[in-house]
Amino acid sequence: MASSSSNLISLKTSDGTVFKVERALAKTMKTVQAIIEEADANIYMIPIHNVFSHHMDMIIDYYKLSVAGKSKEFSVEKLDNDELKDFLLAVHYLNMEDLFEVLTQAVADRLEKKSVGYVRKYFGIENDFTPEEYAAIRKKNDWAFKGDDIEPEEDEEKQEE
């Protein structure tokens, strides 16, 4: 049981798990904060759609580290690309500024040196350039495809074979 007079807020994830979290943590979730403020009476349990218990576990981990001044120790290295994107969506939904920044930076870091082909697959984007258009834009920015450990494009790798 939870009421707004206690220090804990109950959050129910999409997979039905109830997490009792500190009010301070709930405050970092602007979406949840808005729900609490809009509720006429004391809200009993707040459902958070799009957020699963494994997301909440990580959110709580991050919160504990940041309270201890160790937010830099938080790592998402063990998450694969889809898991990370998924987590990012959950945090985006909850509107948690700091953690959102951490995750977007983490995704950006993963993509920084990748090839255009990799990025397309990562976002599920189809190439809508004609071969001529692609060749032109590629040629113009060729320098950006080289050096600094940048992943070579697939078509180049094939040519080298």
Partner: protein, 430 residues
């Protein structure tokens, strides 16, 4: 080798509103468009230039002015770059040099290094010989040619973004007599880059201003005082007499040039003349009143930690820097550093007959955490890194080699290195 520094701070992006969505394929976690744009704003410029090839929508977004603003907002301090300029004798006549972006953090961590320079950074093929200034990572270049043998010249400018590797065509042509100095800055009120050309001749100054994109020079009121370090045409030292800060250009000036006697200068004779790039009018600021005594040599202005700074040699033994903590507030002048030349391991020779423009040390930049100050010494070719928390002094030393197809070759002869701080930046309209 000489080091010089121009710090630039911000650059901007914002999100466009009408991008077509990308064609997406199933079986992957699909992120909504606005989230993707957020993600892109965390990427460094080189990656963004490359990712323009991902799809048509990304190609549009990445160079959109609103995205530019967002990207700028994201990384005000992330990995600020310090641009090294190597001065070398090229194949053709004329003194061109290369301007290379280099991270400040790497420079501080590793003070002795060998730099391989991509030929792209040479100014030679850009047909410009002078750096006017940098702002938000853009570098304004200038050049001129003689029209006749009466010292009439034709001047022009180019705006270069070394991060995106784009450069504007020549613009801002004008014909002028004698020597014009150019300064470059950003007007926050209109979001425009402006170039100021000024000349001091026959005890009068001519000042004209041009907004990038307008291509028309407009005459404005002359400077209310005489800039010191006038026509000090060495590229390395162009930033000591006038600096850009907070939407204004700030000159170190003196009221009456005839009263200027370098043997007997006091701080009270100097002032700061500040041109607001928005209103195009001048403000004048006094220098710290608490400085007494005679200065040895001429003071200089610089920007450290985002503040206007004033520095000078004191009694031939010490180097002093004052910071204007709140820009425009004369009471906020605070002494930032006073250190002996001896402790900085700099040998000064004040007994030499001195020119008006003599000064010994020039502050270059302050590290993000405020711990490390970089200085360059005029008499020496190295930079000095002074750690403010433990009083450690370190000399820097590096060599530069140009990357050629046949491997690295050392530059011959004049290998001067000057430094400008710039941040990686994307812009539009180039």
């Amino acid at each position: 080798m000489y080091l010089r520094c121009i710090c630039s701070n911000k650059y901007e992006y914002a999100i466009g509103k009408e991008e077509k969505k990308c064609i997406t394929l199933p079986s992957t976690v699909v992120l909504p468009h606005d989230l993707i744009v957020e993600l892109l704003s965390y990427l460094p410029v080189k990656s963004l230039v490359r990712f323009r090839s991902v799809c048509k929508s990304w190609k549009t977004v990445i160079y959109d002015p609103t995205f530019v603003k967002l990207h700028l907002k994201r990384s005000p301090t992330r990995n600020p770059l310090f641009t090294l300029t190597t001065y070398h004798v090229p194949r053709t006549l004329g003194y061109y040099y290369s301007v290379i972006p280099y991270p400040i953090s790497r420079f501080i961590e590793n003070r002795s290094f060998n730099l391989s320079v991509d030929p792209y950074y040479s100014l030679e093929d850009k047909e410009c010989s002078h750096i006017v200034g940098t702002c938000n990572g853009l570098i304004c270049l200038s050049h001129y040619s003689y029209i006749d043998d009466q010292f009439n010249k034709e001047f022009w400018l180019r705006l270069w973004n070394p991060a995106t590797r784009t450069i504007s065509p020549q613009f801002g042509y004008f014909r002028g007599f004698y020597v014009f100095d150019f300064k470059f800055g950003y007007d926050n009120s209109t979001g425009k880059y402006k170039v100021v050309a000024f000349r001091y001749h026959n005890q009068k100054s001519n000042v004209r201003i041009l907004s990038f994109g307008d291509n028309v020079w407009r005459d404005i009121e002359g400077l209310p005082a005489v800039p010191v370090h006038l026509h000090f045409n060495y590229h390395e030292h162009a930033a000591i007499g006038c600096v850009y800060l907070c939407g204004s250009l700030n000159w170190l000036a003196i009221h009456n040039i005839n009263e200027y006697n370098y043997k007997d200068i006091t701080v009270g004779q100097f002032l700061i003349v500040s041109l607001d790039l928005g209103t195009e009018t001048y403000n004048q600021y006094m220098l710290p009143r608490r400085v007494d005594g005679v200065l040895s040599g001429t003071p200089t202005v610089s920007v450290l930690g985002g503040c206007l700074c004033f520095s000078y040699s004191y009694k031939e033994t010490d180097f002093v820097i004052w910071q204007m903590k709140k820009f425009g507030v004369e009471d906020s002048w605070t002494q930032f550093l006073k250190i002996s030349f001896h402790n900085l391991q700099v040998e000064c020779n004040f007994s030499k007959p001195r020119m008006m423009h003599y000064f010994e040390l020039v502050p270059l930049f302050l590290s993000e955490n405020g711990d490390t100050l970089a200085l360059t010494s005029i008499g020496d070719s190295n930079a000095i890194l002074y750690n403010l928390s433990d009083n450690r002094v370190e000399q820097t030393k590096f060599t530069a080699a140009r990357i050629t197809t046949s491997g690295c070759s050392q530059w011959r002869n004049q290998k001067k290195i000057t430094g400008w701080a710039a941040k990686k930046f994307m812009t539009y309209n180039l």
